[in-house]
């Protein structure tokens, strides 16, 4: 029996192990940079791989220390060589509202009833550094010459101005913000600038602080300038906030003869701390004209060129060919989207990647953005990959312009892969009847069944009953075997099991003697059947079993009434055998009936 249980367990385990495997879903988050300067932005991306089929739009809401701008989603699905990859990316542009180590908290996503947490990330936001003191142009001699004047600081000795190169621009057209610090006094420490708020603009730094000298209103100044390229994201009047600058200047209280060595330690010699603030700057952003806007315009503004090339022109079915689409020029390169890829029925397409190279020439943002678009041919043949269109708005010409790439011919040969080669003679989704044909029809309708009928083996009760049959058979055989073994080994049990059978046998013999009117033999046989039955029931030797011994054994095992009847019957037998004159047949028959009934009654008390 134990073996049967073990077999059943093994069977259940084997069945359980056959269940299908499930694909894993992974969620990750990343930033493109972990250290930025104040005023810069980081791209925060949440990527879901696996089952991203039932996700709603993701909203980060308000984040402490960050301004959040969604920059769209992207999805990738690919079936290549039997493997499927599915991923979805949510992109956000995060702009810090203060300096220091800022955290991007973890987010919990629920996908298919399971929860996934993104990792918490941190980004270091550095204050914008001014050039080091030795680089500041004012010469020491010049400062010393001005020492007598330093005690009377004029409000014109330090100035902070923010200006833009143009105050009216189109959406996504560059406007260059200049933050310039003028000073004509001795600085005792590096000034600490505070970049203005630039909400509504996509910002791109145009290098580090640049120092120079300049004459303003007839006065000579040392200057430090920081330029930033701004790209307005929406039409309307945008305001660039005030910039601030904290500076510690020598007001005469700093009178250390060894001042040369003490520069940079204003706390020792005093000095005067000043905070300068620039005026806000307004920029009017014009919407892009609707007139003449092509349907495939993707929002690019500037002046661009486009080229397209492929890594190979001879491929096999199901082998990807990568088209490198290169868009270069002047404008907000980062915001450029891939040109629309036309539907190609003979190819599967997916975006394999993109990269960008930013250049800042003469304070103008430009560069190159390259998209790698994979084309996977479904069938053999000669194909033209179409020329792509890229539409942009040229703010100088105030018109939309289109650049196109050349068509590229590719030769697709049948694949060595047996599955792909099966479809090489199929040009479309239509069935090609000229190919080898299907096998012919069946001529007999066969056995009809109900449409919804399931096989008998699909019924759990049928399976349970059928599989239990061998088990039950085994149990029956096992029980019978044990019974036989006990009969052989246990004499008392064997006599008990055979007592009734032997008694019936002897009574039958007595009946024949009754019919033959052989009274002596009849009484003797009846007496023997009853005595032997009793002896077999209680595993006693039949020889010498007297009335007294019967009474002694029967105490507590049989009712007194039955014992009395038994003894009475034995007495009648003795009387019949030994009494002279013989017995009447009816009396003998009554005795026989009594003996039979008595054995039945004794059997009931087992």
């Amino acid at each position: 029996m134990r073996k049967s249980i073990v077999l059943a367990v093994v069977m259940v385990y084997a069945i359980g192990s056959c269940s299908a495997l499930f694909a894993e879903t992974t969620v990750n988050a990343k930033v493109d940079r972990t250290e930025i300067s104040e005023g810069e932005s980081v791209q925060y991306t949440i990527e879901i791989k696996g089952d991203a089929s039932s996700l709603p739009a993701l909203d980060l809401g308000q984040l402490p220390d960050w301004q959040v701008y969604s920059s769209g989603t992207s999805s990738n699905y690919s079936w290549i060589n039997g493997r499927t990859e599915q991923s979805k990316q949510y992109n956000f542009m995060l702009t810090p509202t203060r300096t220091g180590r800022l955290n991007i908290p973890a987010f919990r996503l629920t996908i298919g009833g399971k929860s996934y947490d993104t990792p918490q990330l941190s980004v270091v936001v550095n204050p914008v550094a001014m050039p080091q003191s030795p680089n500041v142009p004012p010469t020491r001699g010049r400062q010393r010459a001005q020492t007598s004047q330093q005690q009377q600081l004029s409000r014109d000795d330090l100035l902070l101005r923010c200006t833009v190169n143009r105050d009216t621009v189109y959406v996504n057209q560059q406007v260059t913000l200049s933050m310039k610090f003028y000073y004509r006094v001795r600085l005792l420490a590096n000034p600490e600038p505070r970049i203005p708020q630039r909400t509504g603009f996509w910002a791109e730094d145009l290098g580090q602080w640049r120092t120079d000298q300049e004459t303003l209103n007839g006065r000579d100044y040392n200057t430090a300038e920081l330029r930033t390229a701004l790209f307005p994201t929406a039409p309307g009047t945008q305001t660039i906030g005030s910039a601030e600058m904290n500076a510690v200047v020598d007001d005469g209280s700093f009178n250390d003869p060894f001042s040369f060595f003490n520069q940079g330690f204003p706390g020792y010699g005093g000095g005067r701390r000043l905070t300068l603030k620039s005026d806000p700057v307004k920029v009017v952003t014009l919407p892009l004209p609707e007139a003449g806007k092509p349907g495939d315009f993707g929002g690019a503004v500037g002046d661009y060129q486009m080229t397209a090339s492929v890594d190979k022109t001879k491929i096999e079915v199901n082998e990807p060919v990568t088209m490198h689409i290169k868009i270069s020029g002047v404008g907000n390169i980062k915001s450029i989207a891939i040109p629309k890829i036309p539907d190609l029925p003979d190819f599967r397409t997916y975006l394999a990647g993109d990269n960008e190279k930013i250049e800042k020439v003469n304070y103008e943002v430009g560069g190159t953005k390259t998209f790698d678009q994979a084309f996977i041919p479904k069938r053999a043949g000669s194909y033209m990959l179409p020329g792509l269109r890229f539409v942009y708005f040229d703010p100088k010409a105030r018109a939309y312009k289109t650049v196109t790439s050349e068509q590229i011919q590719v030769e697709v040969t049948p694949s060595k892969d047996r599955y792909a080669s099966q479809v090489q003679n199929v040009q479309t989704n239509r069935i090609d009847l000229t190919a080898k044909d299907i096998r012919y029809l069946k001529t007999s309708l066969g056995e009809l069944r109900s449409r919804r009928s399931a096989p008998i083996s699909a019924s759990p009760w049928f399976l349970i009953v059928m599989y239990m049959l061998p088990v039950l058979g085994y149990v029956v055989v096992l029980t019978g075997q044990r019974h036989r073994e006990r009969l052989l080994s246990d004499v008392g049990f064997r006599r008990l099991r055979q007592a009734r059978k032997l008694a019936d046998h002897r009574l039958a013999k007595a009946k024949s003697l009754l019919d033959a009117a052989d009274a002596d033999a009849f009484y003797s046989e009846v007496n023997r059947s009853v005595i032997d039955y009793f002896a077999d029931r209680y595993n006693l030797p039949a020889f010498g079993l007297t009335a007294d011994k019967i009474r002694e054994y029967a105490v507590g095992k049989q009712s007194d009434v039955l014992v009395g009847e038994l003894l009475d019957l034995l007495q009648q037998c003795d009387f019949g055998r030994f009494a002279s004159g013989g017995s009447e047949k009816t009396q003998m028959a009554r005795l026989w009936e009594g003996a039979k009934r008595l054995i039945v009654e004794l059997e009931k008390t087992r």
Binding site: C18, S53, Q422, I438, L445, L448, R451, V477
Partner: protein, 247 residues
């Protein structure tokens, strides 16, 4: 007398119905021979629509659909026929032949995996056949155990026990595998030239990918007019019910 007549009629009804279905079946074959595949498919489909089913009926209907240019319906009916008689070489060959015209090579890619190959191997027998094998092996196993207990086959050792137990487990597992694949799981096939597989049950949801005629999938759920399908490699998506025929 009337009762007797009614009883006779009741007994004759199935054979009368069979005769009618057989007539339509033969008419469908004749139409096919004449090259009128669309009419042949309609005639054979009418027999199925009456509630009848047999492997040859599904097989012939599938052939007619294929010839009439309906790849999706052809695959659906070949699969139904295959479920009934998985060891029929004609059905397996024609199904494989027809599947090569599917744009989405999902089924082909599936066969690359070890599990799929095992599944294909197991699918060559009907679940009832697997049951018979496992039941006979199980009965022999317990019979052998009983004989061993009684000492009749004591000299045989334990090898037959392990062998019979292994046959029982393997064939029972195969039976459950095939039952699950063919009867316990709903299957669907795309019957339109091209349809969108969406991320949710509605046109407002995002496009996951495009499925083409003949693409088969496991139907997991239904909401409104959309089926949630489990495609190859565990890819899920919602398909319009009007573009799908359940197998």
């Amino acid at each position: 007398m009337r009762r007797l007549l009614a009883l006779l009629l009741l007994l004759l009804l199935p054979s009368l119905a069979y005769a009618g279905a057989n007539e339509d079946f033969e008419e469908g074959v004749r139409l096919y021979d004449r090259g009128d595949f669309t009419a042949s498919a309609e005639k054979l489909q009418s027999v199925i629509d009456q509630g009848y089913a047999s492997a040859p009926l599904y097989y012939n209907t599938a052939c007619a659909y294929y010839k009439a240019g309906h790849l999706g319906e052809a695959i659906a009916n070949f699969r139904r026929a295959e479920k009934m008689t998985p060891d029929d070489e004609d059905i397996r060959t024609n199904l494989a032949f027809v599947k090569q015209f599917c744009v989405d090579k999902v089924d082909a890619s599936q066969t690359d995996s070890f599990l799929s190959q095992v599944g294909n191997l197991l699918a060559t027998l009907h679940p009832n056949q697997y049951f018979l094998i496992s039941f006979v092996a199980c009965a022999l196993l317990f019979a052998f155990l009983a004989l061993k207990r009684t000492g009749v086959v004591a000299h045989f050792g334990n090898f037959p026990i392990f062998a019979l137990a292994a046959i029982t487990i393997i064939s029972a597992t195969a039976m459950i595998w095939v039952l699950r694949a063919n009867y316990l799981v709903d299957e669907g096939v795309i019957v339109v030239e091209q349809t969108e597989i969406l991320s949710g049950p509605g046109s407002e949801f995002e496009l996951q990918f495009e499925g083409h005629e003949g693409l088969t999938f496991e139907v997991l759920d239904q909401k409104q007019d959309y089926y949630l399908g489990l495609f190859a490699n565990r890819l899920k998506g919602w398909v319009k019910t009007s573009a799908v025929e359940k197998i």
